[in-house]
């Protein structure tokens, strides 16, 4: 049992590490590589929980998570990167050092906020749960502070990975039908955002969101 608990902590640790690395790298191409790594860590969490609870169905879920979040979604983002170098930068509003400090604060906040959930059941999985919430908050930080279209998609994917991690660590995942529907919606949302990014490049000559100011009050 302790062996599996250690593995779970390791996977959760890697999951959080990937989120911090995404915050640290400015190049979107590098960010998508870390996003793939995070998808693998998330699939590992599902697989370890499957082994622990003797639920073979979770192996299938883990395979699906790996396919979607480690392969498909990062590839979709990578393919949308434009040839021009200026589009690859994620243009942070606050510098990387300050972002990392903010991330530390967010992790502390996540541990505080998640206390009621951890108290609900004292298992290794529940103790690792604040990691998922931390990644949700880091995703929100990226969404707020990075003003390039692709960085926003990366932030959104981070947010969603975090929520999925919370679902696995808290209750070994939501019902399969719901999980499937959520994944499908996520895939379509990313496709929509990709098409919009391409249109934005055509019309604005770039994907800097601050260029868009037609609609103001």
């Amino acid at each position: 049992m302790s062996n599996r608990a250690e593995l779970l902590d390791l996977a959760a640790g890697l999951f959080l590490l990937c989120a911090v690395a995404i915050l640290w790298r400015r190049d979107v191409r590098a960010q998508t590589a870390w996003l793939s790594g995070q998808g693998i860590a998330l699939a590992a969490i599902a697989a370890i929980l499957g082994a622990q609870d003797a639920r073979p169905d979770l192996y299938g879920v883990a395979a699906g998570v790996a396919l979607l979040r480690a392969a498909l979604l990062p590839t979709l983002v990578r393919r949308a990167i434009a040839a021009r170098a200026e589009d690859r930068e994620s243009a942070p509003l606050i510098n990387v050092g300050a972002s990392l400090l903010a991330a530390v604060a967010l992790v502390l906040l996540a541990y505080t906020v998640a206390q009621p959930l951890v108290r609900l059941e004292d298992t290794p999985a529940a103790r690792a749960l604040p990691v998922g919430l931390s990644v949700v908050l880091i995703g929100l930080l990226i969404l707020v502070t990075r003003r390039k279209a692709l960085s926003q998609i990366v932030g959104f994917l981070l947010l969603d990975n975090g929520i999925t991690a919370v679902a696995f660590l808290a209750a070994a995942g939501v019902p399969l039908l719901v999980e499937f529907g959520v994944s499908f919606d996520l895939l379509l949302a990313v496709l929509v955002l990709r098409v919009l990014t391409a249109r934005m490049r055509n019309l604005f000559g770039g994907s800097d969101l601050d260029e868009m100011r037609e609609l103001r009050d």
């Binding site: 209750a171 919009l196 037609e214 009050d217």
Partner: protein, 493 residues
């Protein structure tokens, strides 16, 4: 039979979408969408009769469910969809005349949009409702960006990102609630079923439920146009094609808000009414304040209508916070009245935009003389939105105010109505300017003469007049839906 009744409203628009995908948008298929919307309306009436006579319906092991609340919501969706789809051929014909827009894509996306909303209304499971509501974001993103202009792409981007992120927070809330429910001993299949959750609310961990409720109100609130995640709304509603704006403003906001009502039921049973009430009062008053202030300085009439939607959603949130039977019945009547009146207003604004080639309020003057019929319809729709009799919004606003004072919430309710009064003044002043205002002296002289009657056939006037007459009829007597309203306001049944 139950399954058929529950599947019909979802399947009809899906079939119509298939029809558009295969046949494209031609003269014979133009009203396919209207037919599908009419099937939704018919199915909703059948469901309403079943629910009031017998009991709520369940199908597919509780994944689909219709109680009085969902039947009422579906009724509004069907009515608004029928009007909006009936107005669509006219809208597209004009777009084609200007060489823009693909009818096929429009037809397919609008029908998918309707199917997703019906699924959201009939979902018997919070997870399914979430999937349906996120699906509405995905299909409407391209409808908002239909115009392919810079403004349309900007609006579509903001809409997709803000709504997807907002609704992701609701998903986090659902996951947290699921955790609490599983620890309360509920099975995997029932742990997201609002009725089961309400019945077992006593066993839910209070601290975890509080967290889940806050996330869900914030998240579904984003999609319902409530502060603080409302920034997408004026952009999306002003950029979308007029019939789509009508659907988004008239019913999509309501479908999202009904999920908040379901969450509130669970939270009230688990935590007592104070927690959800406080959250809803804060968000409702904040929404009203934002809407009223931005209405004052508004220069664009489509954005003006969008902010008016926010004003009404804020008022609806305050009514939900009051939460008594009277308040909930008034809330539902308000949803119906606002949906129909806003559909007429947006459709009329679409005709106006085509005739005047501008959305600026100060460039549209003297409508009462130049386009008396269209100006008259727009004015009547805005009078309805202002809450004047005989329209039903008068009765529902009065009901909300009475319920608020009866529940000893006089201070927040007074604040809400003062803000609504501010919005009233702004909306009235802008509309009066458009109808009666003098032509800008700098503009070309003589434009106050009546123009050649805009070429709007009976097909264009039909939806407008039907919508107005229905809102007025609902204001005079709500008898066809009184029983249903009473049951829906009771909650649970």
């Amino acid at each position: 039979m139950d399954l058929l009744l529950l599947l019909l409203p979802i399947a009809a628009p899906l079939l119509a979408a298939l029809g558009y995908a295969l046949a494209g948008w031609r003269r014979p298929t133009a009203h396919l969408g209207t037919a599908a919307a009419a099937v939704i309306l018919g199915g909703a009436i059948a469901l309403a009769v079943r629910v009031t006579r017998d009991a709520p319906l369940d199908a597919l092991g509780g994944w689909l469910h219709a109680d009085a609340l969902s039947a009422f919501l579906l009724l509004v969706v069907g009515a608004v969809a029928t009007l909006a789809c009936a107005a669509s051929p006219g809208y597209l014909a004009a777009e084609h005349a200007h060489g823009g827009g693909s009818g096929r894509r429009y037809g397919v996306l609008v029908q998918f949009f309707l199917a997703a909303m019906c699924l959201g209304a009939l979902a018997g499971n919070l997870g399914v409702a979430w999937i349906a509501i996120e699906a509405t974001t995905i299909v409407t993103a391209f409808l908002v960006g239909f115009g392919h202009t810079r403004a349309a792409v900007e609006a579509a981007w903001k809409y997709t990102v803000v709504c997807s992120v907002g609704i992701a927070l609701a998903l986090l809330g659902i996951v947290v609630l699921y955790d609490a429910a599983r620890h309360a001993g509920l099975s995997e299949a029932t742990a997201l079923n609002p009725r089961v959750l309400t019945a077992h609310a006593g066993a839910l961990d209070p601290a975890v439920t509080r967290m889940a409720t806050a996330f869900m109100i914030l998240g579904f609130g984003a999609k319902a146009g409530l502060a603080p995640l409302h920034a997408w709304l004026p952009d999306a509603h002003s950029q979308a094609p007029a019939p789509v704006s009508a659907l988004m403003s008239g019913v999509l906001l309501a479908v999202a808000f009904v999920q908040i009502l379901r969450v509130k039921q669970i939270a009230d049973a688990a935590l007592g009414p104070a927690f959800a009430r406080t959250l809803l009062l804060i968000t409702g008053l904040a929404t009203l304040a934002v809407a009223a202030l931005l209405l004052l300085a508004q220069r664009d009439y489509k954005r003006m209508l969008a902010y008016s939607s926010m004003e009404h959603m804020g008022l609806i949130a305050v009514a939900a916070a009051i939460g008594t039977r009277l308040a909930l019945a008034a809330l539902l009547l308000h949803i119906a009245g606002h949906g129909l009146a806003k559909t007429v207003a947006f459709t009329a604004s679409g005709h106006l935009l085509r005739a005047e080639h501008t959305t600026r309020i100060d460039q549209v003057r003297a409508l009462a003389i130049r386009r008396p019929a269209l100006g008259g319809v727009l004015a009547a729709a805005i009078l309805a939105l202002l809450g004047l009799p005989p329209f039903s919004l008068f009765a529902s606003e009065l009901g909300i105010a009475r319920a608020g004072f009866a529940a000893h919430l006089g201070v927040p309710v007074t604040a809400a109505f003062l803000l609504a009064l501010l919005a009233f003044a702004a909306l009235a002043r802008h509309t009066a300017g458009m109808l009666l205002g003098d032509e800008d002296p700098g503009a070309s002289g003589g434009a106050t003469q009546p123009v050649a009657a805009a070429r709007l056939g009976p097909a264009a006037w039909g939806p407008l007049v039907t919508g107005l007459v229905t809102v007025a009829a609902l204001g005079v007597t709500a008898w066809p839906v009184t029983t249903l309203l009473g049951l829906a306001a009771q909650g649970g049944r």
